[in-house]
Symmetry: C3
Subunit: 336 residues, 3 copies
């Protein structure tokens, strides 16, 4: 039984297999490859693209999705072993995960960082509790550490745009926001791009480092695939010669050590990092622009970048469908 | 590509085509006319009838609906061009609409008035943003200006009850409520009934006029179909000789100019407008009673009217299914 | 047209028929027995198991479920006849129930106690309003008085574990909690176990009596099936020789007479009732442990009991699927 809740579950070979299958099936629809199969989708957090694209994958392949919203349609769930459950979490994942496994053929889990800091996010307790206790395959729809389906969609979009991702110079740049965001998306872009052999440049202000374990894992993928990764606090330096620019905001390292006011001031102090056409002009001619969406226009990215013909953000979101279909098939050994 | 977010998108000929098809298919089920097709339903506001009837249409015709609740299951969406998105709206419809278009075959949107007043409602910014940026057909499930599917269900119910709607005397009467409601439903009844050739009498207290643009549009339909429209502040006068009475509450004109307390007092001052059997006795013998539902019993309409054999409100709601099936087929040129 | 909102709708013969069919179909999947049929599911309260298991039943049998969340996706509903609806309940079940009946083939309703006390729970006004006004069969997904599908799953689990339920000694024991819970689940276990012929021992602290009408109904089933029921305030006495232990918390009798502080203190005073392995050791060797879930670990039941090999709680939840499939078929005379 294969779970996929992080890029490591695929490795560079798995990433390659999923991207190839996704591209092939995008050209030629495989039809009802999941006939009568049920994907249970558990959302601890809101979703637009993920919910719609996963359900569309299942329905168009002859299956179905059952959607559960934790905290509105469902009570809150406990993940801590040995907890004395006398507060607001009314059910333990130790029951919820195996019980749901009785009713569906696969479980998709969406859970964000719980705000406990970088080490807790790295441990990814909620999705790992589901994974531990499920008796059916678990797929991540984004968790505290990673958003692997987004990373795969990003890599597919790069491959479609440039023919290959091998040694492709791409910049992952930090961008401003009104609040500190989780690092799952930048982590996944970094890991996927490294696994796809890109020459990745990561640019962010001081104090916004990605977790050492993520960086070490990405470095290993780069070595295996002939790619490379560099880090800089100089956004301009990173952009020069980049064929693609991936913008994303994330919170400062060890953010639990700062007050909300400190964090807001810190984020505001880097408003110049918001990509504009002036920034894009530093990259290669006609460099592609990517973002995972949702994007706060004119805070995180300027209208003029998102509305420019070089923006691939809608295609990138559309590719969520294609990589997810291929990923579910890969997890089930070619189908259900 | 046909969008239908207002009766104007159909015109009298389209209204006629949809009503005829709905009536025909109500007699003889057309079966799986939308095989494997996906309707994405985006709800900015709660719904019972609309959600259930649209999903039932898709499922019984061999397709599926994917339901998204904005603000609970999905974050809030921005509709304003050029907005600096530094508040609670986390995604722009400029992205959400084309992205959702990648995953589904048609989009249904439900959004109420945002409380910005009559001119904003007339401009209908949210549904028009979806319409502008979608790459699949958009159907209204009610917006600030209109609720076209309700208007079509109303007209089908009149036609079923009386055989024809041509020159049928019907009264649209304002009714009391605990708060000012949007005008989408009275607008849609007026426009649909005019497009179906009715002799419409609109009765409401002073200060509750419908928007001039809606009235002008309805007038044009009445001229084209041989119908007529009159307006009065005298409820009794309107009721005399009416074959059908359509009750609905709506807020005062330019309601943003009044305080909530003023509006509540204004609404309370017209409690005598609540339809009772005494009111119905002024209309034609066995006049049909209609209301779009939900209805606040004994505030908006008396129990004795809703529970009387002349009430068609449940049949009217049931007709939502039939007109929506015909409408989606019309939008897709006979099917998907 | 058969509604099933309480065990009385089945009686001992119906219970037997459903359990036999559930067991048979669990061994041999009956396939698409509800082709194209729609179950409308109306939730007044959150749900995990119920929502997923009912939707899975419909989907795997070739049908579909439409899910409505009252109070989030849908406005609040009124159940009181003659109500002047000037508060937060925007639609009466007198409309909602027949309207939904137009769109679906069967209605499932989930509603908890409204906190009005034991007599109101016994009258079960919300689900009875749906039942009264629906024009399609209504199935309970738990209401104020009962949770019949849970009771049926409990009985099936006992039968699977022990081969028969006839004269099986089983203890239903009250357990601690952080707040007073409804009595629907203990009522349903008692009624189902009695209808299945068990020798039921009910143990609870003084002041937590089940409603006299429920006890009288269970007594009648026990007489008809050769089972028996005894009540005690001595948990140890009940456990001795029990082959199965069913733990569940519920609130004190006439709980509306007490302040929240009094109730919390009362619940806390019986923390020794929480099942541990020490408690289980008093029952028969290898006695099975059951609970309806969700369970608050280390408040209601100790980890060591839930994690022991004798715990059947996940199988019990899994059986919800099997009894519900058989129940829907029974309600429709063998299918749809």
């Amino acid at each position: 039984m294969k779970h996929v809740t992080r890029i490591q579950d695929l490795g560079p070979e798995g990433v390659e297999a999923v991207l190839s299958q996704a591209a092939a099936w995008k050209q030629k629809d495989p039809g009802a490859i999941f006939p009568g199969k049920l994907l249970g989708m558990v959302f601890f957090n809101p979703s637009l693209r993920t919910r719609t694209s996963f359900e569309a994958v299942m329905l168009r392949a002859g299956g179905h999705a059952i959607v559960l919203d934790v905290g509105s349609g469902v009570w809150k769930l406990e993940d801590r072993p040995g907890a004395v459950m006398n507060a607001d979490r009314a059910e333990h994942i130790k029951e919820a995960s195996p019980v749901l496994s009785r009713f569906v053929d696969m479980l998709g889990i969406r859970t964000f960082s719980q705000g406990g800091g970088d080490e807790e996010d790295e441990a990814d307790p909620v999705i790992n509790a589901f994974r531990k206790w499920a008796t059916v395959p678990v797929v991540s729809m984004e968790s505290a550490r990673e958003h692997p389906c987004q990373g795969l969609a990003d890599a597919l979009t790069l491959r479609e745009t440039f023919g290959t991702t091998k040694k492709l110079p791409v910049t992952l740049t930090w961008a401003p926001h009104i609040k500190p965001l989780p690092k799952a998306v930048p982590n996944s872009f970094l890991l996927s791009a490294a696994a796809a052999g890109c020459e990745v440049r990561v640019a962010h202000p001081p104090g916004f480092d990605l977790h050492p374990a993520v960086r070490a894992e990405a470095e290993a993928y780069a070595r295996a695939t002939g790619g490379s990764i560099t880090y800089t606090h100089d956004q301009d330096e990173a952009l020069v010669g980049s064929r693609a620019v991936y913008a994303k905001s994330w919170g400062p390292t060890a953010q639990t050590a700062s007050t909300p006011t400190d964090v807001a001031a810190l984020l505001a102090s880097y408003s110049g990092w918001m990509p504009t056409r002036r920034h894009m002009a530093k990259a290669a001619k006609d460099a592609a622009f990517l973002h995972c969406l949702p994007v706060r226009r004119n805070v995180e990215v300027a209208d003029e970048v998102l509305d420019h013909s070089s923006s691939r953000v809608v295609d990138e979101a559309g590719n969520r469908y294609h990589v997810q279909r291929a990923l579910l098939a890969w997890m089930r050994g070619g189908g259900f």
